[in-house]
């Protein structure tokens, strides 16, 4: 299954962060690559949504829908904004 990109989760990101996020700049906590969220690699066919650095595959964000809540992990990011 091919990865998509951050555009595909624009709705999810807006829901979670309260504003449009696909143009926001992310910095990978592992390799330091800076990319707009729309360009991040997104694996959306999984028990959760996994967002990875397109340069080094490091996991940047994970979204899991647990019952009625969306749980977010952003530990792989150095920064987002």
């Amino acid at each position: 299954m091919d990865a998509v990109d951050g555009n595909a989760i624009g709705g999810l990101l807006h829901e979670v962060f309260g504003s449009e996020m696909t143009a926001a700049m992310s910095v990978c906590g592992s390799c330091g690559t800076a990319r707009q969220v729309g360009e991040l690699a997104v694996y959306a066919h999984a028990p959760g949504t996994v967002v990875r650095c397109p340069s080094c595959d490091n996991v940047l964000m994970v979204f899991v829908k647990i019952h009625d809540r969306t749980c977010i992990d952003l530990m792989g990011l150095a920064s987002l904004g």
């Binding site: 299954m1 694996y43 066919h45 959760g48 996994v50 996991v59 899991v64 647990i66 992990d73």
Partner: protein, 201 residues
């Protein structure tokens, strides 16, 4: 309350005759959906090996050695936490009992380690007694990379995220440390018959 979309229904196999085989909250599919948390690894067979043990004291097999081990053909039902169930899936692989007979048991829990970095944890009790395999063929064909080839763990009595794709080893642990999905809120054990999808269920 969302309106019902006129005329829309999900694909599913009529399951009247499958009663008793479908855990709560699941629906039967004829497809074999591909779910992945990352890019598909493509490990060449001459670079593949499988290890069982702890760092520093492991038993390792290369591909040829692994294929020489006694294997079994098994047909099992599989249940994904994303709610699809697939009945009568046919696999060929090495029983984890065979591997542990050769490598020894060295702890009550195990972490499966995989190409691409995926991990999942299981009690060793759930890997033994004829309940688990390292499978390298599906439907009579070599396991395709998108479904976990060259080899994946097969533990059908638990949710299928425990049947780790691209598996390369089992590491014994003293405690039940969470693997990839368990870390993000999925259930530490994952029994589909008790609908243990998320931590706390």
């Amino acid at each position: 309350m969302s309106p019902v979309s006129r005329g829309f229904h999900r694909r599913r196999q009529d399951s009247a005759e499958n009663a008793g085989r479908v855990p709560p909250g699941q629906y039967v599919t004829k497809d074999f959906p591909v779910l992945s948390a990352g890019p598909t690894p493509h490990t060449p067979l001459d670079g593949w090996n499988f290890s069982v043990g702890r760092p520093g004291r492991q038993r390792t097999w290369n591909w040829a050695e692994f294929r020489d081990l006694p294997s079994e053909d098994v047909t099992v039902d599989i249940h994904c936490v994303t709610k699809w169930t697939k009945l009568d899936t046919a696999w060929q692989g090495v029983s984890v009992d065979t591997l542990l007979d050769l490598a020894g048991h060295d702890g009550p829990f195990a972490m499966a380690h995989c190409d691409g970095g995926y991990t999942t944890n299981l009690p060793v009790e759930d890997l033994t007694g004829g309940k688990a395999w390292v499978a390298y063929a599906y439907g009579g064909q070599p396991l395709e990379p998108e479904h976990g080839g060259p080899a994946r763990l097969l533990v059908p009595h638990l949710y299928f995220w425990k049947s780790a794709k691209w598996v390369r080893g089992l590491e014994f642990m003293d405690t039940d440390e969470p693997g990839f999905w368990e870390n993000y809120g999925y259930h530490i054990y994952g029994d589909p018959w008790r609908e243990q999808r998320y931590a706390g269920d």
